[in-house]
Structure formats: structure tokens, C-alpha cells
Symmetry: C2
């Protein structure tokens, strides 16, 4: 008995016997091989390219001869003439099985192709987008059997793709007749499917075969900036990234002041909602223009944001987030249309997905960090810190994940620091103080040189040296501690105590002079006693939050630390540890997670299963509310010193010896960073 | 062994034994007795009122004593003090079972109460609305367990009503926090459920117990007028009916000219869509004001309309409906939100239901007629005719229903008639011609007297006699035929031939003078030869459509005829039959169906099962397209005479003898109403 030819697909290894003449695409579908096709086997979309791999089947001992596939045909020739097929490639819908063969499915022909993320961890995003394109040929209307165009489209999807029970966005329905006639009854529809058992929804339709693809926006909606990544939803490739300032800044720099604005001004929340939506419209238009695509091709958008931005984006008054018990309107993931969300630069039918919030202070941005960094899949105990006005803190491993938010205030962002400023050209971002001469040298944003390098002053003549940004102030305080200019309680010593005239008296306390630009009309950049108190408050809050989670987890140490966000990317782990911002770990166990929230947004944009993952993870995370935990207060007060207790930082002691100095003279500043001003900063 | 008390509910007859102390509401629920409750048994909504019925259980021989229910309690007393309970009523949630008892559920306490329709057929509408209200008590937020307000509402609905997996309209979500706090964590939510297995959707939320009910609009969106019935969605009562002119008239009187407007003017369809939506907004606001309710309480709206209005309402260019093959964008029923449909007077979350269309010329209005008149439930063969610019014709019985549309043109509406006008005060609506003197007498709209009655001219001095409306022209032509002024071919005789100077020569044909108001500056109202030709065209089309369906059904007669619509209500069956508009049946078998389309809309508004019924019926109806049926042309040409062949009108012959006259002199008008101008009137 002659057997049907054996077909083996690589890389899946799936195999089966098929009758001579079976198209490769058909064989692939029957075996569940991941081989793409938009046109459904009509030889026009070219998504189903395969590479026949001739050779031995060692297990079967059969030498596959030429002729195991049907001959190159006219459809393939036409496609090759028109667009070019790579050497050795065939169209899976045209080539038919003639004999035993191994067939390779190249990565770009796989639906669930994996895309390497351009990030430190080099993790891959598997493509599993909610929206996919389908090409169909629709019957023309016929008076003998009167049916609507939509019903004939439904019939075509059923017959040609086995897709039944679709919905259609109303904005697409209103254009359907025009599109069908323009495409001469051939149409490509974009179907969005929110869950496996959900009804697919037609959210776009193009005449004929649509070949320019469809796109998605991953938006990290921050209090200060809104960043978006325009992503190709078939390849996962980030086409363009762009950002814009959050125009809500004019209603308040930090979140709490925006909540206050909404409380004090009737309709203030509506104003802020309008502002942020307009900004997103602008950003959408700009990014599409930059990428030279039509914004109507942006069919999906994912948002990650903190709870206040979440509510303001949605048009929900954030006032409840400004007062205990900090109740969210909803913490659930949201699926909306662009119309519902009042976004007008996107097509009306575009789908919006907003990640779930973890709790009233731990938002969808923290959920995105969790999705990206996957503490729930970590074998060792990882602490993930995303520092902003609030620090979101995640702690966990495969067994269990906890989350909290800690009210660090804006000091780490350079706010409430006397010479502080946002991270911008001219801002001091790194600093070193010579332990002997007590002289500082520093780097500013926009210049790669240190201030004592040749050419530094020429290169920075344009921007000047204007202030200290977040990472700069952390290094400054830590370096001052290492150089013995500050004692463990956070007091700056006098010129006499420290042996440098850079420590100047200012009232009853001292300041340390980093740079005096006053001769050239520039600022005198100093670190004041008050600056150090602000940093102590912030770092104590951060440490107390991390420590509280460790208590809950009954862990007295963590295995590794990830610093997320722009701040996390610029912070020096050593200096952070000198300050006592983060628990003690070996220095090589502290890593930057990059823009983890943005990455999480991109993952959710490209992969439906990831949305389910993060939704499940968010439900399972133990939410810890620092405001009602007495232990948080205890940790907070105890963590004021720099660092608070050397015996809890054994790893740090191996790296740097901190001088045993004390500048407390019994007068002046005695508040060593206590909690009395902390409350008002929530937000 | 002592048995638990036996509880019997009337009128359902459901019965069961329940432990002493079981609340009556609980017993009713367990038995599936139709007993309403919004507050879920808290004694505040009063929906669960019952009447204990003390007496014998003949089958059991037990005499039920006083005390078979628990004593009147303080909750009932408070409710009675506050709002008053009818004598003998108890609250089903408060009264508990103490012994064997019969309990009557009054009609107003039934969820599926039946509401008698104020119409000829006195059919009842069973209440089974898509939207129902639920009162719940929601947990307050708690920092120890951070959940969103929505999640706590979901939990409450699950715990208190066993309702799971809800959706929430975005516009309600954005107000949820305010509503919950205003109601002190008590809230009434309106849940809309589109099908048994569909997720209920929160479409409104009110603080505390919402007691003013919720409403629906049944809208009959016609080419000329838009009529709406504001309906209480708990009782089914029509609170207010109101109408407004369709402002699209300025783009074209009839549908075809509106389609032309869209074809000739880029953006014309958008203009017309805006106009009709604005008119609906105005009508909504007006009707709510008249009924003294807040428009935000109108949670559902049902539309019925012809296909062109259907597309223009939806914002779909109707151009395809103006040319063969007359393809609809969709014929499916549509469920939309007020926002999607661009209606701004309704709450954003209000649900819109648009009945399915039957075919390109047989719209959702015809579907509504079918729902109201139920030809599919008729034992005898019924012909239902809804006359407008197109006549929609349904023919069927329990075995099978057919439908078609026939291009009657606007003559039946008084258009294209020389003295024709819309039905309005001053328009002749009825006419009788003395067979001997050939003198007419008539009635005009706005006056109950005939023109030869005393006081007629005084009473009509205000309006004057201004023209002839649709029912008037039908009677005029039929009366002219009966009086021997017109022969069976439709020719008007000369003064000599007819013996009356009212038959005047006009060019090569004659006209009949009905009323000469020229002495008082009024019009000379005549019926011209051309008028009769227009009526012949229209009636031939109507008859041919009916006849075509009868052919398809292999029926040479129908058992009864229903005339639907405003026109159908005013038409004289005898005169219609003299004209040969409708097939021959005994006169008492011709009935007006009243505003059947509007009634169908109300039924769909009040009853979800009816929506499923009409959707199924529409799928099952045999759609006949007159334009491609050669038999239609044959019938059309053959039906030109008045009536076309006396042997097909035996019932008519019993009622009136039509003179055997012939005015054909071989010259002049020979076109006896042929089809040459018919095509252009489609629409």
C-alpha cells in the first residue's frame, strides 16, 4: 500500500500525511502549524511564504527528491515579478505536496512570531495581537435574494475563514458599502477579538487587499510626560517613539495638586480631562506624521498610567483618590473605543485597552511594570522600585507578589530641592567629591565630559550649569556623606568641622557649595541642610515601603533589585545604597529595568495572553496600604539616618567606608528627617 | 409528622411547602412566581405587594385561619404611613408564612404584567423590558482591602441579586463614585440585558432607591413625520405621544428625491443625517417636557423606519438604495447606544434598538407592522397593506409569510395630483357624487359636516377648502366611476357624454369640477385626466404587488385585508375596491390596522421576546422583489382599468353597480395608465 506523502514542518516539528496535491497552507492549518495568511490562500498576500527543505529524513531513511512540491506556478511567478520572493521561498497556498518533504516556516510567516525587545534583558515579545486582518471576497448583492452587504460579508467570513458571529463597529458599518464597491467586492477587514470566546468585532475595512499593515500605540501616560510607541501590529516593530509634555502641568505640577485643583474648581476635572485627551490627539497625529502612516491605521492603543491620570483620562473626577480610603472608581482593565474615550485623532472604532490598577495608589503603570518585569516568574526574590512622586514598589517571586506605594514626594525628581531642576541640559546629573580636598567635580546633562576634563566649559557654554536633577542630588548627598561633609544623621558640617570653605554657614545650618556661576551671571549651586532633609524624607519613605513588603513577606533581605523608570535608569546603585534608599544587596544585583511601564504597555499591545496574565497577576498581588500600617511609620522613622544602620548594609561596607563623623552640636536642626511633613505630600 | 405550610400563589397556581417564617417574596422566588421587587426585599420599594386570600383549600379540606401570615410589621406600617398601602395588601418581603395560605399577586406586582393596547384588536403587550432596575447596598471602600467602587457594586449585585458578569456603560462609570456617595452606598442601577445569555449592562445609576421609574421611546420615523410614544417601561403605559415634521423634507419631499440629493450633493447624506438626528433630539426634549419627566430617564428607544430613513438615521449614504440591486448596508437588527447614534437629548448610555429590515424596499417599518399584526399567527390568509410612497405588502398565515414593496408613487399622499395636498385642515378627505345630478358633496379635514349640511361654510370659513388629500382623491375617482363620469379605462367623459357641465374640456381631455372657490379668491378644485392616470398608476402598482404575492402563494383570493398606517385608517374600503386598489373581499373583511408600525415599535420596546420573534419572522419571510418579477409587470399593465375586470370583483358587484360607459373617442389620451413613467418613481 502506498502511503500519502509525509510532511514535516519546522521549527514546530508538527507532521502528518497528506494526499498528493494538498496545498502546503492547508496541510499547515490542519496540523495547527503557525503559518500566517491574510488572503486565505488566494496567492496575493504573500504572508504564507515557506521554504521547502530538501534532505534526508533520518528516521525514515527516505531521501526527499526534487519534485516533493508542485512546480513553481504562475501565481508565484506573478507575485515574484511584482514584489519579489526571496530565493528558495514558495507561497504555501500555491505549492502543493507531491512527496515526502520538510517545510520550514520562516519567522516572518509565523502569526505568533517572536520579536526581540531592544532592552537590557533582551526578552522577546510573542506576537498575539487582538486585531488581525482578513481578506475576503464578498458576494455581490442580488435582487433574487435580498441581503444586506453586512450579511454577505458575514457569510464570506464564515465560508472563507470559518469565523462566525461577528460584530461590526458602527463607524465601519456606515462606510461598508463604499469600501466593498471600491474593492470590487474584495475587502480586507480588521477583526478585533478581546477574548477567545468573545465575538470578533470588525473595526476597520479597506477595499481589496490591504497591504500597509495596521498599527498600535503603547502610551505611558505620566504626570509630567506622555510617551508613545507606534508599533507595527504584525511585526511588533516599534516604528517611532515620541513624547509630549502633559499639559495638565498647568493645573498642578504633581498629582496631588491636580486632585486639589479638581476639588477646588467645579469642572476642573473636566478641564484636565479635555487637556490630556487633546494632548493625546496631538501626540497621535504627530507620531503618525513622523512615521508617515495614516492615523486611521492605528487600530489599537494601550494606556498605562497612575491612578490619578487613569481617572482623569477616563473623565472620572479624581477627588476620591485624594482622601482616605483612596477608592478607585474601578480597578478593572478597561476595553473602550476611541469614541467612548473622546479621542478624535484615532479612528472612531479603534480599541483602547487600559491595564488594571492594583490599588488606589498603585496604578496601571505599576501593573505594566509587573507585566514587563514579571516578579511572579522570578526564582529569586526581586524588589522592583519605580520612583516618581510616589514610589511604586513590588516585591516577590514565583510564590507570591506584594505591592505598595510609598509617598516619597517629588524630591527625587529635583523638586523641593533648593538648586533642584528637572532632568534637562545643564542639570548636574552626576557628582564626585574628592575625599581629601572635598572639591566636587560633576557632569551635566548634554555633555559627556566631567567638569574637570579639558573642554568641559567650552562644551557647556551654551547650556550653562543650571541646577541639580534627581540623580544628581542623590549622588551629591551620598558623596557628601562619603567625603565626611555630612554625618549619618544628615547634618552638614561647618567649614571648621569639615576642613573646607565650601561648607558655608547659612542661618543656623550649613550648605555645601558645588558650583558658583554667579561671576558669569549663573546660579550658585549648593546643597542645603533643608535639601538633605527632603532627601532623607523621600528615601526613608522609599526604604520603609520596601521594608514593609519584606516584613509582610517575612524576608530580611532581597536577592536583587530592579530600578524602573527614567530615574531608575540614571541612578547610581552605589550612591542609592549609601543613602539607604534601597536595601543592601551586592552591587551587581541592582539593575535598571529601563522604561518598564512603557515596555509593559507594548507587551499588552502585542499580546492578548499577556493582558490575561497581567489581569490575573493584579488580582493575585497582595496589596499593602502603607497609610494604615503602623510598621510603615516605624520603618520610616528608623530609616532617617544615612544609611540608617551600617549593620544592615554589610554589602555596602565592602565597597565604601563611611566616615564616623558627627556634627550635632546640640542646637539648630534636630529633626533627623522625621515624618511630620510627610502627610501633606501624598500624591 | 407535621408538614410545612402549603402556599399557593394565584393567578399562576404555583404552589409549594415552606418552613414557617419564610418571607412570601422568598417563597415566590423559589417557585418562580412572577412577583416584582426592586429593593431586593428591604421593604422600601413596595413592588412586591401581595393580597393574602384567606379561605378554604377545597382539595385539602383545610380552612385557613387568620394568622396564616405573620403580623403586620413596622416596616409595612412605615410604608403605609408614608405612601399608603391598598386595603388588604401586604409587602411580600415582610409578611412571612405561618400556615397554609393562598396568596394573590396583583397585576401591578407582576414583572411580566400584561398591558392592554388601546387599539381595535385590543391585543395585550406583555411587559418583558430589556432594562430593569435593581436596588443594592454596596460596601464602603476599605483601605484594608483596596477595591474599586465598581468591583464592590459588582459584588453587591452578585450577593443581593445573583447577577454576575456585568458590563457598565462608560458614561455611568464616570459618575458612579458620586452616585454611590450621594446615596450613602445605596444605589439603584438600571441593567439592560439584550439576550438571555448576554452580559447585563449598567446603563443608569441613581442614589438610593429610584422611584420615578424609567421610560422608553417608540419612534416611528417616517419620511414626512416622526412620531414618538413615551412609554413607562415598568407599566407599559403610554405617557405622552408626540410628533414632529421630518426636517429632511427640505432636501426632497419623497425618499427618492432624498436619495438623489445624496447622489448629487457630496456630503448631502451627512446633512440629512444631522437634520433627522436633531429633529429626534428636539422631539425627545419636547416629549419629556410635556410628560414632565427628566430626559435622562429615557433609557431605551426603538426605531422603525423605511430603508432610506434607516440608512439616513444611521449615517449611511442611502445611494445604494436608489439603484438596482437596492442593497442595504445591513438588514440586521441593530443595538446601539445613544452616543453611537449621535443622539444627544437621550442619556449617553441609553440603548437604541432598530428593528431589522426585510429587504431593500421593505424596511424596519414593515417588520414592525408584521410584529404588530402577526400575519404569521393568522389562521386565515391575510393581506396587510401599508400605503405610502412605496406600499409595503405582507401576505401570509401561520404556514408562510411573503413580503414585497410596490412603487405606488406619492399619488396616494396627494402629491402629483393637480389639486392634491397633504392631509391638513381644509383638504377634502371624503366625497360623494350624486349619480343623477352628478353634483358632488364633500367633507374637509377639520369639520364634521358635509358640504351640503347647514353651517358647513361657516365652520370652514377659517380654513377654506384648499385641495384634495390622499383619501379624498381615491374617493373622488371612485365616485366619478360610480357616477358614470369616468369609464372603466379611466377616461373622463365630456359634458355631453356625462350630462353635466362640471365635466369641462381642458386641452384634448376633460376635468371634473368639484368646487370652484375662485369667486372668494380660493382655488378651483378639479380632478384632471392626468390625476386619474396618476391614481391608475399607483393603484395598479399596489394591486400588482398584492397579486404577485398571491401568485407566489398560489392563492387566487385572500380571506381578509388590513390597511395599515394613517392612510389606511382614513381610506374607504368600498372606494378602494371600486378603484381596484385592493383585491376583492367582503367589505367587513377590510379593517384598518391603525398605526401598526408604531404599535410594533411599542411592542419591541416593552418586550424582549417580541424582538426575537420579529427577528425570526423577518428571516423567515419570503422576500419578493417586484422589479425582477415579469409577472409584476403583467399584473401592473392588466390592472389599469377601474376596476380592472369586474369578474375578479364579485363581492364588489354585490355592493355597487358600475355603469357600462366608454368615453374613448379614438383620440387624445390612450395611455390607460401603463408603466412607462413608473420606474422613475421608485422610492
Amino acid at each position: 500500500m502506498t502511503q500519502d506523502p509525509l510532511v514535516i514542518f519546522t521549527p514546530s516539528g508538527k507532521r502528518g500525511r497528506f494526499a498528493v496535491g494538498t496545498p502546503v497552507l492547508t496541510a499547515a492549518r490542519q496540523l495547527g502549524v503557525d503559518l500566517d495568511s491574510v488572503c486565505g490562500g488566494r496567492g496575493i498576500c504573500s504572508k504564507c511564504q515557506i521554504t521547502p527543505s530538501y534532505g534526508d529524513f533520518p528516521k525514515h531513511g527516505v531521501n526527499v527528491a526534487e519534485g516533493a512540491l508542485s512546480d513553481w506556478n504562475s501565481v508565484e511567478q506573478r507575485y515574484d515579478d511584482k514584489r519579489g520572493l526571496k530565493q528558495g521561498r514558495r507561497l504555501g497556498c500555491q505549492a502543493t505536496v507531491q512527496g515526502d518533504i520538510v517545510i520550514d516556516v520562516p519567522a516572518e510567516s509565523q502569526v505568533h512570531k517572536q520579536v526581540v525587545r531592544k532592552a537590557a534583558s533582551a526578552r522577546v515579545i510573542e506576537m498575539d495581537p487582538a486585531t488581525r486582518l482578513y481578506f475576503v471576497e464578498v458576494d455581490e448583492p442580488d435582487m433574487h435574494e435580498p441581503t444586506g452587504d453586512l450579511e454577505r460579508l458575514e457569510r464570506a467570513l464564515k465560508e472563507q475563514w470559518e469565523i462566525t458571529e461577528i460584530d461590526i463597529d458602527f463607524s465601519v458599518l456606515s462606510q461598508l458599502q463604499t469600501v466593498l464597491r471600491k474593492g470590487k467586492w474584495q475587502v480586507t477587514v480588521a477583526l478585533n477579538t478581546l477574548a477567545e470566546n468573545a465575538r470578533p468585532r470588525v473595526i476597520a475595512a479597506w477595499p481589496g487587499l490591504h497591504e500597509t499593515g495596521h498599527f498600535g500605540l503603547a502610551v505611558d501616560l505620566g504626570s509630567t510626560t506622555i510617551a508613545a510607541h507606534l508599533t507595527h501590529l504584525e511585526t511588533g516593530e516599534v516604528i517611532t517613539s515620541s513624547g509630549i509634555m502633559n499639559p495638565q502641568i498647568r493645573f498642578g505640577e504633581d498629582l496631588m495638586s491636580r486632585v486639589s485643583y479638581a476639588m477646588m474648581n467645579p469642572g476642573g476635572d473636566v478641564e484636565m480631562t479635555r487637556a490630556v485627551r487633546e494632548a493625546i490627539d496631538t501626540l497621535t497625529t504627530d507620531i503618525a506624521e513622523e512615521a508617515e502612516i495614516d492615523p486611521s491605521l492605528i487600530l489599537e492603543t494601550v494606556f498605562v498610567c497612575n491612578p490619578v491620570m487613569h481617572h482623569l483620562l477616563l473623565g472620572i473626577d479624581p477627588v476620591q483618590l485624594g482622601q482616605a480610603p483612596f477608592a478607585l472608581a474601578t480597578s478593572e482593565p478597561l476595553n473602550l473605543s476611541a469614541t467612548e474615550l473622546g479621542l478624535s485623532a484615532l479612528p472612531a472604532a479603534a480599541r483602547i485597552y487600559i491595564l488594571p490598577c492594583i490599588a488606589g495608589h498603585v496604578g496601571a503603570d505599576a501593573a505594566a511594570v509587573a507585566l514587563s518585569e514579571e516578579p511572579n516568574k522570578s526564582d529569586d526574590l526581586v524588589l522592583i522600585v519605580d520612583v516618581g512622586t510616589n514610589a511604586e514598589i513590588l516585591l516577590g517571586d514565583t510564590s507570591h507578589v506584594l505591592a505598595c506605594s510609598s509617598p516619597t514626594g517629588p524630591a527625587f525628581e529635583g523638586a523641593q530641592i533648593s538648586s533642584g531642576q528637572r532632568a534637562a541640559p545643564g542639570a548636574i546629573e552626576a557628582i564626585r567629591i574628592d575625599p581629601v580636598s572635598k572639591t566636587p567635580r560633576f557632569k551635566v546633562i548634554g555633555c559627556d565630559l566631567w567638569s574637570d576634563d579639558d573642554g568641559f566649559w567650552e562644551q557647556t557654554a551654551q547650556t550653562g550649569v543650571t541646577g541639580i536633577c534627581g540623580s544628581g542630588i542623590i549622588e551629591a548627598v551620598a558623596e557628601m556623606r562619603i567625603a565626611g561633609l555630612v554625618d549619618s544623621s544628615g547634618l552638614i558640617g561647618s567649614a571648621e568641622q569639615t576642613g573646607t570653605t565650601r561648607c558655608e554657614a547659612e542661618g543656623r545650618t550649613h550648605v555645601y557649595l558645588i558650583h558658583d556661576g554667579s561671576a558669569d551671571g549663573g546660579p550658585r549651586i549648593t546643597v542645603t541642610q533643608q535639601d538633605i532633609r527632603e532627601i532623607q524624607l523621600a528615601k526613608s519613605a522609599l526604604y520603609a515601603g520596601a521594608r514593609l513588603l519584606m516584613d509582610k513577606r517575612k524576608a530580611d533581605k532581597v536577592d536583587r533589585i530592579e530600578l524602573a523608570g527614567a530615574f531608575g535608569a540614571h541612578i547610581s546603585p552605589l550612591h542609592a545604597m549609601v543613602l539607604g534608599m534601597i536595601p543592601d544587596v551586592p552591587l551587581d544585583k541592582v539593575q535598571s529595568a529601563g522604561n518598564a511601564a512603557g515596555t509593559g504597555a507594548r507587551i499588552a499591545l502585542c499580546n492578548m495572553a499577556a493582558r490575561r496574565d497581567v489581569e490575573r497577576l493584579v488580582r493575585e498581588i497582595t496589596k499593602v496600604e502603607t497609610a494604615i500600617e503602623p510598621r510603615f511609620q516605624e520603618h520610616f522613622v528608623a530609616a532617617s539616618a544615612i544609611p540608617h544602620a551600617t549593620d544592615t548594609f554589610p554589602e555596602l561596607s565592602k565597597l565604601v567606608a563611611l566616615p564616623q563623623v558627627s556634627f550635632n552640636t546640640g542646637g539648630g536642626d534636630e529633626d533627623a528627617g522625621g515624618g511630620r511633613r510627610r502627610r501633606r505630600r501624598r500624591g
